[in-house]
Symmetry: D2
Subunit: 500 residues, 4 copies
């Protein structure tokens, strides 16, 4: 949610080493909304915990009781930010929450950018949590500043606050609607207002997920993924639809629904990468089981790119596991834990050992010689971004005795950066933008390499196929970033964009 | 600088016990500006240290280099907030800084209110530090919110940012001028802008102090008091005048000056309490030596309210010491250290011992039996606010053997709350508003009690006399708070205000 | 390593809720020794990281350079305790390190118990790190105190320091040998001395693991498991043998070896639970691949306790995964990820949600409906201790749609508490000590339940079989705790012990 | 209490800059004991606060209830170490406490050295707090280590624990007595035992102070100074006498007294520097008012070293104030606050500004031009150690306009380092050891300089005169440090010692 231009810069310079360990795109946030439960803040805490994989560097919550809006935000994991006493400071039966992926160290300016944001306006205070990215942020901000607005964060989310405050509409939902109709880009937003309204809204393309559920006591729960509903024991009802705004307050028994008409009517383009990498396997995202998608990706790979006489199928854990199981099942080859992942490696862990040498992936992944020695190995990963990690994994497997290493990637080649809420490196850095598959294979020194064919999505998703965004694989963006954003893109990138 | 209405509330409820230990009004802030020194952040750090007595609960600094604005703020003393590495994050040859007195515990919302504030607007980023209180804050905020502005703090200072951003003027100084002309109340402000301008301005009444000095290398230094100039080895040049705005940038060799014409032309009403209590004795404030003022107050007391046959003159340290020395000198009676002040008592110290009993003043002040035993004692304090501390001091002195205790107060009775940047209790709580001098004497159980006669100021200040604000002693306010503020004032207070 | 008696108490009272989430025995520590590498502290840091699963609550390191012994210890993970600057404070080419599982919260007394311990004696300073438990600690301590020794920790490890200091032998290795010959119980110890000697020793039963490896530059590395050797790129050479003391210093090119003769000659009784649960699957422990052992346990279960017509095999992650893969492979049934484990659940996480209800296992494990719905499920776990978690897992799986749940446990029933370095609940709490298998099945509401038959070990290990300790499964202890310890054992336990 | 040898080293190397700001000897600790009050820990907290001037870098407390010994220690001020919840962890009606001056930064090894120490021995646990310095520490430690004792701290206090544990006596008081009879040096010790005994003891020379008082409820209070008794509302009864051990337990209504017979019978040599500098002016120390002593020192200076025609007498605050008042009173010249001391300057404050230049004293002391300009000034300080600060003060006063600066020192020249619990620089660094008075005057550029004549003590103290230690002024030590200690003394020092 931090503006795209600066984000790209940070990736290149500061976090290269860290990203190297993972070489994955980074999801930028999860959101939660709870309405009508006396334990709202505790439920929100649990739901945020369930969404922790969507952002580990900041968390926050806003509650409302008796027209008083309270907020706690902080740097770190959900369990770092909240404790018993902090939750006690958040009374009331409605709450919104946010987990955040972020790129800057623990500075005081960073804390400013941790959501939910709360602001005060003429019709009272309200809070907002945002997952996504506004591609016309720079234009909107310039326009607002031109009219004398001041900005206190570097987050694109702040423009929503201004747009809402500037709306002449009488009631909050209409103000929010009017504001959203000016936004372009990817967003799943939840709002809570001083006077007790909870509003959830998803952009007309529906890039980012947002679901709605209900607890036995009637409390309504919104969350980025269904795994959060499960943990708070809410039953999944449905997605918030692309372009839909859902309002919950005490004037009606049921949540009420409105649709955005601008900048264009709903036109679903859900992010396929949620199914490939971001979401938890136990979630239902965009109406489909993530586990089943990944398993099917693995099965397709086994069918399309089989490895004759392979001994064992292993995964790059954790994200490659389900696809690897699918591959193994389809291929009739045993799945084994050939790589073990350490769960104690955080960003701060990496600093001290750099003086010895580049340990890279070794800290996070350990090979199991008993599984690998003398074997013809198929290793399944979910995606390749810059390729640096893949080459280290191949070397690691061979050093642990693998006779052959055949890499299978449960997604097509990533050739274009994302502008809709995912933090991918610049297009220039994407290995699949620079090399053909065979070149990549040589670069990572695998005995064979295959990606998921793009048209697998068509087979798998059927008529739903057109409802997804594949821009990172095709370079065909449903929506272009605004001029101001393009200026911050390097030349190579612009050419690439132009070419599509 | 936190808005008056909530402040009053906090005094009454939360900090009663703490204030009890001191029973003094609280200064609300000190400001610093440095222009043209390569060590700007380090000098600013020293200057803030020298102003630490003006605010101990938060500190911050903003510097500018190459159009990049950097900021560090934090809770606590200057030395808690800054260290070598933090100062290294603040490069550049210009800086503004702030120390803050505040009333709320270390919550994340508190940190938001720590100054300087930095904001971004269409003509770039700028920072501001503020000492004072805008009496038309509520009206201005309502007006701005009515036009769609959003507020992210509860500090009155935020309105200045909005007003500046909304100005149509082309250059920053004119924007700031236009904004200030809409402000009513007490303020000494320093600004720094992205494009390298430093601006210092004082309200037309000049309630709060602000001085200008110069280092040998030509660097210009603004500060609330001259003691800050001394520490950074800047020579005191002059006050920033009431209603004056001073601009320093690289377009001219000398600071340039403009004057506010609205809401009214300059009409000096400097806060006499700076001389009585707030400022450091080694400062020159409003062109006069604070030490000399306090010494003279003591001398006047000795002349007007002598104590026949007294043995010793002592002070309530630290603020009563200079007046006590004046009293002793004039009366020809030895001054002794009859009370010793502990410098290890902070707010957090007080919590654990409350379970035993109300130790109150005992933790901060210790009597010296060797000085007091069997003596007829004159004890000089600078002021009485609620009277609770004074009665404890009298009892403490008698328990330590004093035969008689004659209290002399180096200021007139305080009968009215302040709206110009000082945090006094509500008028209702002021003992001198509720009791006559003789009643107070009985209440505190002193053998005699005398205040400084109000007309001493006339004698002492001569023709300058009319340039000071005595509202806390007279109830005659140079400027009324806005309607919105009055609504937050309790009834007693309104009557008092009306009566004047 | 904290004394057994108090440990039992703590389990019962304080950590019930936490243990409930896991219901596993707790390993009590990992140790590391590095000799002859200029990057000793950084290598030790990496090795401790690789052993992090053996203790997450405290870590420490001691290095020696130029006769100066330096030490850093702290509460938390290895990455919490050390950073670049801390490692820079630990110069030298030899280091010992320790990770610790512990039971008490972050008190100052806790910090005292974090190892390695450093002490000063007449022949200089030395440090020690200990994995294990001395069963004659109470007797030794009483004896030492009787002679006037004072104790500054509550850890049994401290007696070694005293025994070494009291030895009359001239050189350190002989002092250590003499001391160890007085110890009874389980221990793998590493020492480092002021004058540059590194000593590693394992008790005559060899209960706890300790391996030796070598880096390309000739540096010698000792560690609890081979996974630590792998990370520091040391080649595994061999185990330190039961009853063996290995000395490394600059007087010889090769490590030198001595054997303890008292209290009895070496008689291997290695802890089988290392293969069942504690060690990393990629480690070689007691000369055998942990992965292969667990896979074989699963295969045996599939053979001995098949489930007719089952649809899917799942694991209780992470410790049950390898056995589940073995089961699935042998049974020819697909393995799937039916339970997903959260890696963000630490002890502090659990506090706030307890007010809602007992979420127990739900926070750590999430079921995958896509895998479970309508299926006949085999779920493999490594062990059952108190049974509370198992019953929650069965319920969770059924709620997620499983038609039948058949639990398979990759170890025999645990019927007796451990005195050799593992923190198991008291015998009274062990479900298998209180119930028969069928009763347990009913208690956990599984459709079937089977444990690994005890004689599987014989089959699997062949002639090595007699070299392992199975006390937790048989109640037949190779070594009894001392009288003082027994007194702290509850009556039930004593009966059990007597019965064997 | 940290061993002398290392201490000297640290002074020279690490803390030069910090000491420079003060140039005073450092007191090394204050102790407290409370017996028979249900609020023991809170009273102890207050008493430690009252003794905060005796040590600001560490604090701790030990309480006993129902045979359970509890301890809290930490780095920092009393109010940093304790809070409500920490005090709640310290139940019981008896407590001992300690404040500590120390020289090393916040390392984990430092925390080990924070007192009170608690240890466990065959007759149970006990705690000890120590003010002083054992001159035969090295010998005792070598002897104990020779017998196999191990040491876990670098503090000389630890030997007492060993000596007590090694005693064969049946009851604690006799064990402690036996141990103390082996100690040589300066000590005021308080002990508390598991079985509810409080013991206070002072060395036969009585170098360091220790007083006894009683609260209205009968509770007995021991403390280094009477100011601690005052704060806890205990009435001062008497000193613990040199060589006396006082035992309080529930077997007798009154404290019971014993005397040490070894190494020699009581022979009072109280530290005169307590009256000159360390103690609070409101304390009674060694039976005399500190305030009166200092006032008299000032009076003597005025008589012996008058300054013809001087205009004003000022003090170097805070320690020089009382002597300055004495001087002013005797000389009939007005006393003024010519220097103001900042109370916000801690050690950490100093780091960042060093890059600008050596601000030294300026941060702590500010001159008052209104007092000094054009004046002939007498400035009174309590002592001169290395002389660096004095020269800066003289320059500061002259820069602030003083016409002449006449420095008067309220103690004789310090020519020898202390071995009895005071941290003075090595003899080599003492300016009075290297220069004659006139040379010092030139060095500090004062217009005149005079010290207190040594025989003033005789006049002032009368027959008590011989009961004080003047070693720092005479080099005549009542007790020599042990051989081991001497070895750590540089050559110059040894010569000096030999010469006396």
């Amino acid at each position: 949610m931090v503006v795209n231009s600066s984000r790209k810069l940070i990736n290149l310079d500061q976090h290269d080493d860290y990203l190297d360990v993972d070489d994955k795109p980074k999801e930028e946030c999860g959101v939660v909304g709870i309405y009508g439960d006396p334990e709202a803040s505790r439920l929100c805490y649990l739901a945020l915990h369930a969404l922790q994989h969507r952002g580990q560097e900041g968390a926050g919550m806003v509650t409302v009781e008796n027209k008083v809006v309270k907020s706690v935000t902080g740097i770190g994991l959900v369990s770092d930010v909240f404790n018993e006493s902090k939750l006690d400071q958040l009374p009331g039966d409605m709450a919104i929450g946010h987990v955040r992926y972020s790129t800057a160290a623990g500075s005081s300016s960073m804390l400013k950018n941790v959501q939910p944001f709360v602001t005060s306006s003429k019709f009272g205070s309200f809070g907002v949590a945002h997952n996504g990215n506004f591609v016309n942020y720079q234009l909107l901000r310039a326009e607002l500043e031109g009219k004398g607005s001041i900005f206190s964060t570097t987050s694109d989310t702040e423009v929503v606050l201004h747009l809402i405050a500037k709306s002449k509409a009488r009631i909050f939902a209409l103000r929010a609607l009017e504001a959203c109709e000016k936004l372009q880009g990817a967003y799943s937003l939840v709002f809570v207002t001083e006077d007790g309204k909870l509003v959830a809204v998803r952009d007309p393309f529906g890039f980012r997920p947002l679901v709605m559920g209900r607890r036995k006591n009637g409390a309504i729960v919104f969350a980025s993924e269904t795994c959060a509903l499960d943990l708070v024991e809410a039953t999944y009802e449905r997605e918030v639809h692309p372009g839909e705004m859902v309002l919950v307050d005490d004037t009606s028994k049921e949540p009420q629904s409105m649709y955005l008409l601008k900048p264009h009517p709903p036109e679903p383009k859900s992010c396929i990468f949620e199914h490939i990498y971001f979401a938890q396997p136990n979630s239902i995202v965009f109406g489909k089981s993530v586990y089943e998608s990944r398993h099917a990706f693995g099965e397709i790979l086994a069918t399309e790119s089989p490895v004759e006489g392979c001994d064992v199928v292993i995964a790059v854990p954790d994200s490659g596991v389900v696809a690897a199981l699918g591959y193994a099942a389809k291929a009739g080859v045993p799945y084994q834990q050939g790589l073990i992942r350490s769960h104690y490696v955080g960003r701060k862990f990496i600093e001290p050992f750099q003086k010895i040498r580049d340990f890279g992936v070794k800290l996070k992944l350990s090979p199991v010689r008993a599984v690998l020695e003398g074997k013809k190995v198929v290793v399944v990963d979910d995606s390749i971004v810059r390729g640096t990690t893949s080459s280290k994994i191949v070397r690691m497997l061979k050093e642990a005795g693998a006779k052959e290493v055949h890499m299978r990637i449960a997604s097509p080649p990533i050739i274009a950066s994302c502008y809709y809420g995912i933090d991918t490196p610049s297009t220039e850095e994407l290995i699949s933008n620079r090399m053909k598959v065979e070149e990549i294979r040589k670069f990572i020194r695998a005995d064979s390499l295959a990606f998921l064919p793009t048209d697998s999505f068509r087979k798998l998703l059927g008529s739903d196929h057109t409802n997804f965004c594949y821009a990172c694989f095709s370079g065909k963006y449903p929506l272009y970033p605004s001029v101001a954003m393009e200026e911050s893109i390097d030349d190579t990138m612009k050419l690439t964009v132009a070419a599509n």
